[in-house]
Structure formats: C-alpha cells, structure tokens
C-alpha cells in the first residue's frame, strides 16, 4: 500500500480564498522549473502543490544496444553540474558488470575528483544561487522589517568571517556586486581546477574509465591539488560561521521559520567515496564495502536508521507511475528475476524497467510530468516511502552520523553528530566543526547542512591526498585494471550526486546494453503523486509552507516558497517542473504581470 508521507498539517481547502501565484521558470537552479501555487493569503499558507517536468530526452531508450563501455561517457551528459557523478556511478556499475577492481590509486584519484566536485558545486549553489534568496536586495524587497533588524543585529561570528552585522553579510551576497558572492564564484573556479586535475574536464570528465582512470599520478598532480585544497580549507573556516550566523538569524527574526519547507524526516543517502581496501565491486560483498564508504549509505525515517545495507537499499527501490507521461511496463520483459544473491527482483525495480514515453497534454487532474515516482519500499510497514535527499548534504550527514561507522582521522561519526577536522592554514589555526542532527528536516537545515558538507568533503580530501601520496611514494602508480566485457551480466552503481542519491542499473546481453536506468536525486525529490496518491517530496514540503513574506498578492515574490524549493538544490536536467495547485480558484493573479492563467 501507499502512504501519505506529509505530516497531517493541512486544513480543508473548501472555504478558503485561494490565489493562483505562478513562477515559470524558477531561476538560479540548473534546468527549467516552474512553480504554480495556490496561496491562502488570509492564513498565510501555501495551499496546494503539484510538481512537473519540462524536458524529456530518453537516455534509457537511446542507450539500448550500445557498447556498455560507453555508458559513463554517455550518462555524464545527463547533468551539466554533476555529470561527473553520473560518470563515476556508471563506472561503478561497469566495474560490477565487468568484474573488475581498479587499483587503489585510481580510487583515491576518483575520490579526490568527487570531493572537489562537492566542494565546487555546493559552494556555487549555496553562495551564488541560493545565497541570492538571502541577499540584501531580496530581503529588502520581501521582508523590509527583517532587513531593518539585520542592520541592528551584530553577527556573532564577526571576528571569524569579518562581516560586522547580519545586514553586512546580506550585502556581501548581492549578485555580482557583493564581495562574498564574487569571492565564492572565484573559489568555485579553483575547486574546479582541483577537479580537472583528477578527472580532466569539468563537468564531463575525460579520464574516467571502467577499471580505473587515465590520470597520471605524479608528485606534481597531488601537490597542485593540495595547495588549492588548503586555500579552500581556509575559506571554509570563515564560511561556516558566516552561514551559521545568517541561518540562525532567520529563526530569530522570523519565529516559526522552521516550518518553511519542512517535511517528515524521510531521507535517503546511497553512500560516497569507496574504500579501495574493501571495495571489490562484487554484488555479493556489497553490504560490506557499502558500509566501508567514507559517506555511509542509509535510509533515515523519523530519525531512525532503517538500513545501511546497499543490498537492502537496492532491492527495495520501486519506480512507480501515476501522474507521469509513460505507459506501464507490467507486460514488458523482466530482465532480472533474481539478484546475484538469489533475492527476487521486482518488476518495478530499475533493472526491470522499460521506458515507454507517451507525450500528451499537461493535465493536473491526470498526467502532468515527465518525472516518474521513485519510492523505497519499507518492509516493516509495506509503505512506498517518498524519500527525499534534502539536496544531498543533510541526508549524507544524517545517515553517516547515525551509522557511527566513519572514523579516518579527519572525519568522525559519533552516532548523533559528525565531527570534522581542518588543520592550520596560512592565517587561521586548526578547527574542528561538528554537525549535529537538527530538530527538523526543513529549508534552513538543508541549507546549513550544505555548508557543513563542504567541510566534510574538504576533510575527506585531506585524507585522500595522504593515501594517494602513500601509494605514490610506495611506487604503486598503476591506475587501471584490464577487463573484458562479458556477453551476459548485470551491474549496479551507488553513489551520491552532489544533490543526493544516484544509482545506475545496467543489464548486458550479447555484449551490448539491453537495459540501463539511471536514477539521479531530482526524480526522488521532484516527482509527482504516485499511483497510491502519495505526493513527491517537493509537493509535500511546499504544501502548507507558511508565508512570511511581507508583500501582499500585488508584489508577492514567493520568497519563502523559493527558499523551500531551492533548499533541495533542484537540478532540472534530471527533469522537473513544479506545479502547485489545482483547487478552487476564486482569484487569479500572475506574478508579476504577464498574461492570465486561465
């Protein structure tokens, strides 16, 4: 059975005066997203919400019959900001299918590249895209009262980050002209240089292969990386207190702000950073090497770690329809009856999915999106859970904290928190940051976790540089293991794209791809109501979000909705449009003025 995963916080809509407020496209995300809301201005709440996608490309269709070695080159092109996460995940699936284990040096190089990707991507999204929602210009336009308060509020961390008041932080975030905005943009280039050292090109890597990497490990390679990393470490020592000050201020200035974007704690993390000492890519040992990852995989429901077992995670993925522009595949071929451990594999599992597109008119009472509805079957209850990634970091930190497995001298999971160590830098002493499990899964905590995960990635990178240099000094410089492509095989890869869970499932027949299904984070977050009527996480989180914006319908910018949606770090090439509301309309406004939505 399905389950309505939103907390019971709604009120009947029958007698409310609802106003249509539409924003299409939502900017400062990757891809085209539209938001259509019905807002109850009297009660200052978003009333209803649907989510819909604007593009279809058909990867799983055109990959059929292609050479399985090409999968990572092709799937990288799914996403223009985390394409390398796809390429990496595809090589993981290839490694399993081809039965090949890359040399340790290759794993350290990939981990260093992926760490740089997290450092870059969270940084540019947080400070150049999300940050604008918290900048002086935006806050003045939406909540002048809050800005006035910010001018009078001294920033507690001023001695660490150099901005005297909260308003000074907001000014520094103004797009292009703000000093911190420009510093962050510059930093996002340096971290991409680090990425290019390891993976060749950003965002579609050139040096990744099944079996390892083509990158040549040299003293120069790791030195060039390390000196840049240490500059980033120094930068983060200022960024963490800066964001803590800014986010704490919003709770203080707007009591009740914790409700914005809040939903039940239903978090998914598929794990990141393989440990080459344990990971052999065999399915049979996946439980063991999954738990050895430096970001622990896990499903977190109501602050409980339901599982950290990748086999369990894998087998219970279900791809549902209900509101999507596809025909069902119940009568299509079942490619995989049992996994290599003998467990039955469901027809709605990605290994068995067949994509049958049926383009049609958008109808919010019926089909309204190109996104399918991925769910995770909770065997304890039989519920198909609409897990979200919270934009990635909050789920990664939460799962890693609860599992208590990671402890490598730079990051340490305590069971209730994650501690991260940053050594001395040019002008600042060593620092330990601690991310503690928050009270809510909401917009502010998703954003805050992003900052802390930037530190997590940097701390891990310090460990990976040490490990890579140890290999180099020992003369173990091989970066690639040979393999042959089997005629028949299956494989799966689990990874964390920057904004959350990523899986690739491949079936090989006659040496060619017979079936291939990538599941990136945005389908998990941005999906529509499924066949059981369960709304997707955006729909759920935005629905009933309280409105704190001071503007009425005439000048309404929807800033609280924007903050709720952007906290998930939407990445639309994964395919989303957001559409809120199809209830009774008493009044229709368009934001700001172009055309009337009939």
């Amino acid at each position: 059975m399905g389950t309505i995963t939103s907390a019971a916080k709604g009120t009947p809509t029958g007698s409310r005066k609802l106003v249509d407020m539409n924003w299409d496209p939502i900017t400062r995300i990757v891809g085209s997203l539209g938001i259509f809301t019905k807002i109850d201005f009297d009660n200052r709440q978003v009333a209803e919400c649907h989510s819909t996608s604007s593009i279809f490309r058909g990867y799983s269709i055109f990959m059929k019959g292609k050479d399985p070695r090409d999968a990572h080159f092709i799937t990288s092109r799914i996403c223009g900001i985390c394409g390398d996460n796809h390429a990496t995940c595809a090589t993981y699936a290839q490694n399993m299918a081809f039965g090949v284990r890359p040399p340790a040096m290759a794993e350290w190089i990939v981990n260093l590249g992926e760490a740089a990707e997290y450092m870059f991507d969270h940084n540019i999204f947080q400070d150049n895209l999300v940050g604008v929602d918290f900048c002086e210009q935006m806050v003045k336009e939406t909540n002048p009262g809050v800005y006035a308060k910010a001018e009078k509020t001294t920033a507690p961390g001023a001695n660490l980050h150099g901005y005297r008041t909260i308003a000074d932080i907001m000014k520094a975030l103004n797009p292009f002209v703000g000093s911190f905005y420009r510093e962050a943009l510059q930093m996002s280039r340096m971290t991409r240089e680090m990425f290019c050292l390891m993976e060749g090109r950003h965002v579609h890597p050139s040096t990744l292969y099944p079996g390892g990497v083509g990158t040549v490990p040299t003293v120069q390679l790791f030195t060039d990386y390390l000196v840049r990393l240490m500059k980033y470490v120094e930068f983060m020592k200022k960024v963490v207190p800066l964001h803590d000050d800014l986010f704490d201020f919003f709770y203080e200035a707007l009591p009740g702000y914790e409700k914005v974007g809040q939903r039940r704690v239903l978090l998914a993390c598929w794990g990141s950073f393989n440990n080459p000492a344990v990971c052999d890519y065999s399915y049979k040992k996946m439980t063991e090497w999954g738990r050895a990852m430096y970001v622990t995989p896990g499903v977190v429901v109501d602050d409980k770690l339901v599982t950290s077992d990748l086999v369990d995670i894998n087998l219970n993925i279900r791809i549902l329809l209900g509101s999507s522009y596809y025909d069902g595949w119940e009568n299509s071929e079942k490619f995989v009856q049992k996994d290599p451990l003998g467990n039955p594999v469901d027809q709605n599992h990605p290994w068995n999915q067949t994509t049958i597109p049926r383009p049609q008119k958008r109808d919010f009472g019926g089909k309204y999106t190109w996104v399918m509805s991925p769910r995770w079957l909770d065997k304890r209850t039989g519920d198909h859970l609409a897990l979200d990634t919270g934009g990635g970091p909050i789920a990664r930190l939460w799962a890693t904290a609860l599992a208590g497995l990671v402890d490598n001298g730079y990051v340490k999971s305590t069971g209730r928190s994650v501690k991260m160590y940053l050594p001395k830098t040019m002008s600042l002493p060593e620092v330990e940051f601690e991310w503690k499990i928050p009270k809510w899964s909401n917009a502010i905590e998703r954003d805050r976790a992003r900052t802390y995960f930037q530190v997590y990635a940097a701390s891990c990178a310090l460990y990976f540089v040490e490990q890579a240099l140890a290999e180099l000094h020992a003369g173990r410089t091989k970066t690639w293991s040979e393999f042959t492509v089997p005629q028949e095989a299956i494989g799966c890869g689990f990874h964390e794209a920057v904004r959350g869970v990523l899986s690739h499932h491949v079936v090989i027949r006659d040496g060619k791809i017979a079936n291939y299904h990538p599941y990136p984070p945005t389908p998990w977050n941005a999906n529509p109501r499924d066949v059981y009527g369960t709304p997707g996480p955006y729909e759920d989180a935005v629905q009933n979000t309280p409105i704190f914006e001071e503007n009425g319908p005439d000048k309404f910018k929807g800033i609280d909705i924007m903050r709720a949606v952007r906290s998930f770090d939407p990445c639309l090439p994964c395919g989303v449009h957001m559409y809120l509301g199809n209830g009774k309309v008493l009044e229709t406004h368009h934001s700001p003025m172009f055309g009337q939505h009939a």
């Binding site: 539409n22 990757v30 223009g80 055309g595």
Partner: protein, 354 residues
Amino acid sequence: MTPEAVPYGRKTQKPSPVPDIHILWITAGLGCDGDSVSITAATQPSIEDVLLGAIPGLPRVHLHNPVLAYENGDDFLKFWYQAEQGKLEPFVLVVEGSIPNEKIKKQGYWAALGTDPKSGQPITTNEWIDRLTPKALAVVACGTCATYGGIHAMQGNPTGAMGLADYLGWGWKSKAGLPIVNVPGCPVQPDNFMETLLYLLYQVAGLAPMIPLDDQLRPLWLFGKTVHDGCDRAGYYEQGDFAEVYGSPKCIVKLGCWGPVVNCNVPKRGWMAGIGGCPNVGGICIGCTMPGFPDKFMPFMDEPPGAKVSAAAISVYGKTIRTLRSFTNDTVNKEPKWRHTGTELTTGYRPGTY
C-alpha cells in the same frame, strides 16, 4: 577634473555606439545546462568581467540566463516577451541544448520554457526559437547539443533531436546578416565560449570585422586545428610510442583517442586556467566538438579505424597520412542523416505510443 588632468588615453577610449545590449540565453533545449555552468568557470574573460564593464569599449551587457538570474518567473520571462515584441533591441540569442522535433507526435512536448497564458500548456523551446530568432542581432549555438545535436541526437533517440542549424537551415542569417555562430564542445570549453561572445560584442561595438567562421560555422581561430596538433603527447605519436594501458603518459591513440581528426583546441588550451583537458591528461578524445558526435566515434574505447594505418605508417609521415586523415575528418565533420526537420522520426526508434 581639470582639463590637463584628463589622461591622454581618454582619446583612445570611445563609448560603444551601441550603449546597451541584452543577451537572452535559452537553456531549455534538450541539454544538461552544462554550458551555462561551464561559462561560470571562464576567466578569459570571466562573466563578471563582461557584466561589470571590466573590458574597454564594450556596450553595457545585460545577461538573462536562467541559471544566474536574480528574477524568477514572469519577472524573468518579461525580457523574452519584450524581445519577441521588438522592445529589447539589440539582443544576442544564445541557444543551449539540442532542438527536439515536436512534429513527430500528435500532442505534448519534449522541451519547454514557461507556460502559455492562454492555453495553460507549456511553451515549447522550438516556439521560442521561432519567435526570437527573427528579432536577434546574432544567434549563438552554445555547446555540441545546440550546434549539431550531440548526445541527445544519438541513433535510436525518441525525440528526433537536431542542431540549431539543422532546425533553422544552414544558410540562415540574422537580420544583421550574421550566420549562426556555433561554439561546440560537450560541454563548451569555458574560455572558448566567452572569447567568442566577447568577439561578437566587439563586432557590435564596431571594433571588429565579421567573425571568421568555417563551413561548420565554428570560429576559425578556435577550431582550425586538430586535437593532435595541440597535444603535448604528439611527440610519442611521432616516435610511434603508444600507450597500451590507461594511465600511461604516452600517446593514447590506440586506446580510443580520435585526436588526429577532431577540430578542437582543448589540449593546447587546457580546460580551465591551463589545467586539465583530454588526451594531454590521459582522457581519450571522443570527438565531442564534432558534427558526427557521438555516433561516428562509438564505441569510444576502441581504436579509431584510421589510427592503425597512420600509426603504422608513421615513418613515412607525409602526404598519404594527411590524405587519409582529411578523408576521416570530412566524415566526422558531417552529422548523421537522421537529424532533420519534418514529421518523420528516422533515428531507428519506433514508438508505439505517439
């Protein structure tokens, strides 16, 4: 300022005859936004150099790109409507992502941006291109999807995707007489794009002649040489010393590198700040700047057909090799035949549902 304090250099600095120019950037093709993300990595010039007036002689530039814009929704789309009505003059239109064929099906959409206020249905990307291209001073296709179709126009694709020139016609000219300017790359190399844009802004300001393009509409100075011409591993090639395993510092042509026949400057320029690239750092060239990408280069990890001949004959380097290469180069400079307009889907995919 007193007259004598006016720096003599002031005489050389003239305000642009066109004081303001808008850049409308559509990312809503079948793409990944990787080209928009890419340009945020550019430093020669950087996006802020251009927007904040750090380059002399340019008009004031107003960028409308969804990845970076402050505005949302109709606040953002108003520039699109103004451009359509001829009220946003002049503007350069940048298109990112491949152009789907919306005519191969009865209803629905493959790619869209915004909602039609009358029908409540999405406005297709193709509709925007139809509305805006007649009004644009120049049209730039950014990245291989928009230039030639790219990955989403692969054999077997369900959308009938193609490049912008396939959609508008290869002889298309803007109202100012400019052909489409193609800056391929998957994604586009950051500085290659910003440098091309800067050239066009100079041209608008009357500071540069017509942009020189090759027959695939690429800027000549960026795409006139091959990957191999600029690769620092070419020395190994010339000595016939080839890598047998990935991770070797030698020439990787036998491992799948198509560098000798691919028009691209990345090994020479690096990916950003001179760092990274493709064969120069151990990544096989998969031809991602080319009209024939990806189909004519797959399977990527096999040795290219021409490589063996030229590698074996390397000691008689000369006319024969050049002829062979030019033959292959011609082939990979042509798109596959299924990228076209019309109502037929000829990619090999047979839909039963549309």
